[in-house]
Amino acid sequence: MSDIDLQHRMTTSVETVDAPSDLVDRVRQGGARRLRRRRFIAAAAVALSAVVVADVATAGPSVMGGRDDTTAAAVPATDDPYRFLLNQPTRGDLANDQIYLDQVVSTWDESHEKSLNQDRGIFDNLRGNPHVAWAGRTPGGRAAIVVQQSYLRKHDNLQIAKGLYTLIGFIGEDADGHSTLIADSYPAPGAGLITGFVTGSRQRALVMLDTGQKVGWSSKRIYADDGSSHLDYAPLKFTDGISVVPLRAGTDVRTIMVSVLPAGKFTHLFVAGTNWPDTSTRESRLWPTAASWPLGPGAEEMRNSAADLFGKTLDDVTAQYPLLAIDSLWHAYGKTANGSRLVVGEFAMDTDATRVYAVLQSPTGKTEVVPGGIPDPSAPLPVTIRLPNDQGWVVARRGARLSSRVGDGAWSTPRENAALVAENPKTEAKVEVAGSVQIVQLR
């Protein structure tokens, strides 16, 4: 497949897609609303907020244009994956605790205004009464799953075929024992579904909905000494349509993964309450700008292939590819004394800390990954990786002049940013940054 073939095929794939004729109007409406919101915030009109909310509450239905839908035919959508929860009696060990069930419903009812999905209009045309599909005790406190039908229709930021769909709410408890909404969701086209949640403030639990599939969970990615990494999925056992997993103290909920088994590349299921950070503004790399650092003679011919060799080799040793892979923007590359090609860089997965690796490729083509661990950006040499078979050390620090010597010998000619250093028990590296010099023993 040539580049031109691919371009033609992509063009053909979307040639029937045209922008909707009302896009300009919708954009102007949405943009104007954003401007108003910015002005409102800029004016810090805190005192007025109660009045504004009251106005919206009164005028809401007509402003939202939803009046015509209140009488629309209530035909359930055929692609409503949460609907099965509506048709079953409340399950769980708190199913008969009417006081708690009432609390759950109140929490659900009161949560819509602050919901992340509120401005999609999914709560504008709720139908019927909320139904608690499951309520039970967990190590993280009482928890529940509540569902309610809603007549969804096209909205400013919701493109969906009109229809009656089932909304879902995941309810847990806050530190004071009060019921609180952890997340709500709806069957968005083009999006998958949240099927579980983490609840609890001191002790925590993972609560997963039984969707009829064999499912496992993993608490964290395991990094092996050979540079490979994988997730060990423990199968979940479902009772009353739910699986509850106690989470040990200190469990980092951001690293929890749930997958249909056997786990593959695109088998993840999604969990609310795991507090994934907003990675769009978070930079976790050791050195977040692009750079190429040749490590000596013979390195230049690797300039265009180094990143590929590094990335492909790490892909090959990464089982269960992550939801979020953060590639290295810098690479140091060259050849070792025995003729192996060497590339050094960093790689981070999901919410884990970035790690540095050296990738070696022997003259016969065999590749090997040498993990360098989690780098310490404040260390004199954040990257210090000992290569196997007496091939020396590779060291790196952005912006530094690096030289080395053995014992009392002469210092080598300094290199910028990264250097390949000979293996010897008496080897030490000199790190010069902005006039300061530090000596690091390589042991």
Binding site: M1, V17, R28, G31, L116, A191, F266, T274, D308, S328
Partner: protein, 166 residues
């Protein structure tokens, strides 16, 4: 702050179909693409007077960032379906639909960064340098991601393409 004038409307009308097609390639879903494109233009609307340079480039970059954020935040709004074909591309039927569908599915099976590289390089026809600038990565990364993505696309789409040509 003054609301944008007619020049904004002309800009949207002139660029929206192209941007929507890019969004569909990036997301594999028309509805999601429309959501994203509308959000992009709303952001452009708010900043219309402050945007320096070509607004198309601003919009394309905003779209790419939004797609990345959508993917990154999918623990809250995920992209894997329970129901069969829930998240399959929703293009209207036409001749050769299966082939197009297969390519869109194959694109969605790529890791997001590789998908973005392919769409920006081969659909938007940007240079490697422009693609690297939008994706905030090195030119080397663009090259390597494109290489890997092309290999995967060949493996996953060519049998169907050949069948379609019989």
């Amino acid at each position: 702050m003054v609301a944008p004038g007619d020049d904004f409307d002309i800009f949207v009308r002139g660029t929206s179909t192209r941007l929507l097609r890019t969004a569909v390639l990036l997301t594999g879903d028309r509805s999601a693409g429309e959501d994203l494109v509308q959000e992009v233009y709303e952001r452009v609307y708010v900043r219309w007077r402050q945007i320096r340079g070509a607004p198309e480039a601003y919009a394309r970059k905003a779209l790419t960032n939004l797609v990345a954020n959508r993917w990154r935040n999918r623990s809250r709004k995920p992209e894997v379906a329970l129901a069969d074909h829930h998240d399959r591309p929703d293009l209207d039927g036409a001749d050769g639909f299966a082939i197009r569908d297969q390519l869109l599915i194959a694109l969605q099976d790529l890791p997001p960064r590789q998908r973005a590289v392919i769409v920006l390089r081969y659909y938007e026809d940007l240079t490697e340098v422009q693609t690297a600038e939008i994706l905030r990565c090195s030119v080397g990364t663009v090259k390597s991601q494109a290489s890997r993505a092309l290999g995967k696309l060949r493996l996953s789409t060519e049998p169907v393409i050949q069948e379609g040509l019989r």
